[in-house]
């Protein structure tokens, strides 16, 4: 089974990396082909603060919150994500005996994208156009490199960067990147691990987990989803609509998080 697993950068998960590494080891030993793709928002924010590069966020008119990535922020993003987070994940996996290979998604031309030359940002009562944002919409996914690595028995650890048409390295939403990679790889499952048990009916009540959503009804759950969860839901739906058998939004802080997600412990999105 090919499983694409995305782990968020939120603080909660960083304490559980050893648990995750051991979990992935058992999945690999059981003959699964695993690809790990990671976010890193907490690390990016922390480094930005240390470097005096203010982290600013854009909220689009439709309520989606994303990082405003000018070139100074992109530099922080690359150092924190491609440097620190990716290397630490590879270290953790190698220490437990997994042959991990840390790459960014510009390697081997995996992700090409189109840089959004104008992004709308709601600021108070005004709507402004941001023109120097280095985020991109994915236009092509080439899985040749990760397939070559998987065939060699390696576990790719992917940092989601995109090479844009002008040769710039751009930022991309890690959930969306995971969905695109799972789709292109015709993965059996997409697992989105974060610091919540899944989509909750009531965000303050961890046991109000919504266990199963069919893609057709996903939209009706949008109102109860936070900005971050909206992105996960949209990514899960996009993957399942494009052929991934199922997507699971699950808790990355628990023991054996990936295995439990594969066993449907979380919000399962199905066709």
């Amino acid at each position: 089974m090919i499983v694409v697993i995305k782990i968020g950068g939120a603080a909660g998960i960083n304490q559980n990396l050893t648990g995750l590494a051991n979990d992935l080891k058992s999945l690999v030993d059981a003959g699964n082909q695993i690809l790990l793709i990671h976010g890193g928002s907490a690390e990016v924010d922390a480094l930005g603060e240390r470097l005096g590069v203010p982290m600013r966020y854009i909220t689009s008119p439709s309520g989606v919150r994303s990082r405003y990535t000018d070139s100074a922020t992109m530099e922080v993003f690359i150092m924190a994500m491609a440097g620190r987070v990716n290397t630490e994940l590879v270290r953790q996996l190698q220490v437990v005996g997994v042959k991990a290979v840390g790459i960014t998604a510009i390697s081997g031309g995996m992700f090409y994208g189109e840089r959004k030359t104008a992004i709308r940002s709601v600021e108070g009562s005004k709507v402004k156009l941001i023109r120097d944002d280095l985020s991109a919409t994915l236009t092509s996914v080439d899985t040749a490199l990760v397939e070559h690595l998987l065939a060699g028995g390696y576990l790719p650890v992917v940092c989601p960067l995109v090479l844009a048409q002008g040769g710039e390295v751009c930022n991309i939403d890690a959930d969306r990147a995971a969905a695109a990679l799972a789709t292109a790889l015709r993965a059996d499952q997409l697992i989105l691990l974060s610091n919540v048990p899944g989509l909750l009916e009531d965000v303050s009540n961890p046991s109000s987990l919504i266990r199963c959503i069919r893609v057709g009804e996903a939209e009706s759950y949008e109102e109860i989803a936070s900005a971050g969860m909206k992105k996960k839901l949209a990514a899960a739906v996009a993957a399942v609509r494009s052929g991934v058998k199922r997507a699971v939004i699950a808790d990355g802080r628990v023991e054996a998080p990936a295995t439990r997600a594969i066993r449907s412990e979380g919000t399962v999105v199905t066709p």
């Binding site: 976010g39 928002s41 854009i58 689009s60 008119p61 439709s62 989606v64 994303s66 990082r67 990535t69 993003f77 959004k116 030359t117 104008a118 992004i119 709308r120 005004k126 709507v127 402004k128 156009l129 941001i130 023109r131 944002d133 985020s135 919409t137 989601p160 930022n171 991309i172 939403d173 890690a174 969306r176 992105k231």
Partner: protein
């Protein structure tokens, strides 16, 4: 500030504007981008792109 719509030549007044702000022409309803404040210049705002971003 007196605004002049590049699409329908409509005129209208506003208090203050910022570079990069989007304003809607009250006459033809088109969305305009404030490309400069001094001197004031308005241009057709680009289509809204999907706003996925990390």
């Amino acid at each position: 500030m007196l605004c002049s719509c590049p699409e329908c030549a409509g005129k209208w007044k506003v208090g203050s504007l910022e570079k990069g702000e989007i304003v809607v022409c009250p006459e033809c309803g088109v969305e305009l981008e404030v490309t400069s404040v001094e001197p004031l210049s308005l241009e057709l705002a680009p289509e809204e792109e999907e706003d996925w971003g990390e």
